[in-house]
């Protein structure tokens, strides 16, 4: 009976009507002059033109500015830039068309504007409560599936001073609408789709084994209780292997949309709960090695599975049922099921990389890298969700 909240306010719209009705959505949310955030890739694909023509369809909503994000590493300067463009053009709403960091920055811009707190570092501290002062409508149109940040209340801010990615969680970070458009999604490459699948898999595993903590008196204790996050993960894990391979093989629009929707709802449902060791480790590797977060996922998934196997054997065994199906599950003896789950996931990751990511180069770590990753990981609050306690020696040992 412990207090719990779930399902954030983001509404997910799928199909073509989403972008076509963009002007209605913006008008209904109270926007009259919007800032469109995108990148050069979206511009060259013609997606931004579609968004622009839909926004200004009936003439009631004007386009205040179009911001093309580039060199997204320095979070502080990008946000400053966006803030300036937004204010100087008198905008009152945001439409972001893109993925990854671009969506995070649009969400952080919304947080800054809504709360009128210009210094985003104030949100690093959990005790800072930013109240909504003005309403800033935000609509996200992801261009890659499986990312999840288009419909959750979490954003990553790269702290250049400490060379560390910070997680910011705030209710105001969840967009009002997330439009999943098949034409935009289909423009993504096969490799990016495969990474999207890996991201969904990582989140589902993190959510499935997540532990929960609550403040009891003056201490933070692990609490038992019914959690809906596990069910979200269970739904996402069910037949994930066959669905993903089928979708990547056939490239059918319907299958891709089904998978994209499932992934989006998983992020919406899990919110903070779905971020665990895989997410934290991939982020830490990304910071240390200076490469894209998605490219770090295969290593993070393998290392996390090895790290947690000892303490998660029962949960991994349950996850095997969903992942491979009950018929295959019942063929294995009880004691082998957890190990089987780990090997099945690893095989699946290898298969995806071999088939669909042509230029994948396995990451190598030296001792300094391992040390730096272990330190970075200790800063990430989502490591708390992991069932096995933080153990730097063991973490370094699984990073091979």
């Amino acid at each position: 009976m412990r207090y719990a909240e779930f399902s954030n306010g983001t509404k997910i719209i799928d199909g073509e009507k989403g972008i076509a009705d963009l002007h209605i959505l913006l008008r209904g949310l109270g926007a009259s002059r919007v800032m469109i955030i995108g990148d050069r890739h979206m511009l060259s694909q013609g997606c931004l033109d579609r968004v622009k023509s839909s926004v200004s369809k009936d003439g009631e909503v004007a386009i205040g500015a179009v911001y093309l994000g580039e060199n997204l590493q320095d979070s502080a300067s990008i946000l400053k830039d966006m803030y300036f463009v937004y204010m100087s053009n008198g905008c009152d709403g945001i439409v972001v068309c893109g993925s990854g960091k671009l969506v995070d920055y649009a969400k952080l811009l919304r947080l800054e504007l809504s709360t009128q707190v210009k210094d985003i570092s104030k949100f690093f501290n959990k005790s800072t409560i930013g109240r909504k002062v003005i309403d800033v409508p935000l609509i996200a149109i992801p261009c890659r599936f499986g990312m999840g940040n288009e419909c959750n209340a979490l954003a990553v801010f790269y702290d250049a001073q400490k060379k560390l990615s910070r997680n910011i969680f705030h209710e105001l970070l969840s967009p009002d609408y997330c439009i999943i458009d098949s034409n935009i999604m289909l423009s993504a490459s096969r490799a990016s789709m495969a990474y999207g699948v890996l991201n969904t898999l990582g989140k589902a595993i993190d959510g499935f084994i997540a532990m929960h903590y609550a403040v009891v008196g003056i201490a933070i204790k692990q609490v038992e209780g019914h959690t809906i996050g596990k069910i979200f993960s269970q739904v996402a894990l069910t037949n994930l292997r066959s669905k993903a391979l089928d979708m990547l093989e056939s490239s059918q629009e319907e299958k891709m949309m089904d998978f994209a929707l499932e992934s989006a709802y998983l992020s919406k449902g899990l919110d903070r709960g779905g971020m665990g060791m895989i997410y934290s480790l991939a982020l830490a590797i990304s910071d240390v090695k200076g490469i894209n977060y998605l490219e770090c996922l295969p290593v993070a998934i393998r290392a996390s599975l090895d790290f947690n196997l000892r303490v998660c054997s029962e949960k991994y065994s349950q996850a095997l049922w969903s992942f491979v199906g009950w018929q295959e599950y019942s063929q294995y003896p009880q004691d082998d099921r957890a190990k089987r789950f780990v090997s099945c996931v690893k095989e699946f990751v290898d298969e995806l990389l071999a088939k669909y990511v042509e230029d994948y180069a396995p990451l190598t770590f030296n001792d300094d890298d391992r040390q730096a990753i272990a330190i970075q990981l200790s800063y990430n609050p989502h490591m708390l969700n992991n069932p096995r306690r933080y153990d730097p020696i063991a973490i370094k040992a699984v990073l091979v």
Partner: protein
């Protein structure tokens, strides 16, 4: 057809100890300054209204209360509540109680968003497509809920017994609050009705022929998990609040799942039988569902193999004996129902609810007028041996 938009945030669940207090913060963030409370007489009688006011009275400005809702949601109640809302210049609504109070609150919200003053107007016209007027609606179901709290449906009865059924996003619940302090002690029969109803709704939505979104699957699965973990204990130890709360939570989730893609046939038939006989909707629905499972083979429109994978590790699902997935689901449901018989005697036939042949023949005649040939045949199968 143009899509309907209400421009409000999606439903948010606040559950567990302190949910009522946290709801005040959430409502205040949504801009609620003058709140109208709509509740039914049963909630007043059972002290649930007082519990609510004790918890939120200080933090929330409840400017007016409409407490006269009876067993059925009447159009007159909706009109009066709407007038009161306007007189007191309210900006948000809280619904406390059972089905009828929630229907009235939803109807008031629809009328406000649509700019309509009388419920009876909807006898002749449909609800508009677009309204950007935000009216936060918080639903606080009492234990005897029927899962409609998260639905977009309002079913209102006119004085001449005509029914107005509205299904529109304007009726959307913004916060669903479930606090253990409102789970008062009730009889085992009521617990059985509520729990079985939740189970029926969850299974119906998972085996639905229409395409369901992942959220629906999650809610249905979560309801099944909560029920299989708590329902029997709740029947055995009905005094323990934890079990009652979990069954109520399961009902709310199952309702969420069911009403996002309701089985129109079962709902229509149950509603008709209730209208003619005055029987409890949940009992009627449970009986029709159980008969459906027994009599009608699971069609292969949905992937039963995937469904067994989805339900996963559950003590009631026995997969070891080489049956196919459809049989596994069917037998799991039957075994579970049989097991429950040990704890409580629940109605198995419509006649057990006091519904006589005359009422059933009227129902069948009425249903024949509106239903298509396949539905009529299905209804015939279900009602035949009654």
């Amino acid at each position: 057809m143009r899509s309907q938009y209400n421009f409000e945030s999606d439903i948010k669940f606040l559950t567990g100890k302190g949910a009522l207090r946290n709801a005040t913060v959430a409502l205040s963030n949504m801009g609620a300054r003058r709140v109208m409370l709509i509740c039914d007489e049963a909630s007043v009688k059972h002290g649930q209204l007082n519990s609510l006011l004790r918890q939120v009275g200080k933090d929330l400005n409840i400017t007016c209360q409409y407490k006269k809702v009876l067993e059925y949601a009447m159009a007159e109640d909706c009109d009066k509540a709407l007038r009161l809302y306007k007189e007191k210049e309210c900006d948000s609504i809280i619904a406390l109680g059972q089905r009828s109070a929630i229907y009235v609150a939803k109807a008031v919200k629809i009328m406000l968003k649509d700019g309509v003053s009388f419920m009876s107007n909807y006898l002749d016209c449909a609800v508009n497509n677009i309204s950007s007027k935000p009216i936060p609606l918080t639903v606080i179901p009492t234990y005897l809920s029927s899962g409609i709290e998260a639905s977009n449906i309002a079913r209102i009865r006119c004085e001449d017994k005509r029914i107005i059924r509205l299904d529109t996003p304007f009726a959307q619940t913004n916060f669903l609050v479930l606090d253990p302090c409102l789970c008062s002690i009730i009889g085992r029969k009521n617990i059985a009705s509520t729990g079985l109803n939740a189970l029926a709704m969850a299974i119906t939505s998972l085996t639905s022929h229409s395409k369901v979104d992942p959220m629906t699957k999650v809610y249905a699965l979560d309801a099944i998990t909560l029920l299989t973990d708590n329902f029997e204990q709740c029947l055995m130890y009905s005094g323990i609040r934890k079990y009652r709360f979990n069954v109520a939570f399961a009902t709310a989730l199952a309702g969420c799942a069911y009403w996002s893609s309701p089985n129109a046939f079962l709902t229509e038939l149950s509603d008709l039988i209730c209208d003619y006989s005055g029987a409890d909707y949940r009992d009627v629905f449970n009986i029709l569902f159980a008969k459906g499972v027994e009599k009608i083979e699971f069609k292969c429109d949905f992937d039963t193999y995937a469904l067994v994978n989805l339900i996963g590790y559950n003590q009631y699902v026995d997969v070891q004996d080489g049956k196919n997935s459809g049989q596994i689901i069917k037998e799991s449901v039957k075994n579970y129902y049989a097991k429950l018989k040990k704890y409580v005697k629940y109605p198995l036939k419509l006649k057990d609810l006091g519904i006589d042949d005359e009422a059933l023949s009227k129902v069948y005649d009425e249903f024949s007028k509106v239903g298509d040939a396949e539905k009529i045949e299905y209804a015939n199968k279900l009602l035949k041996d009654e």
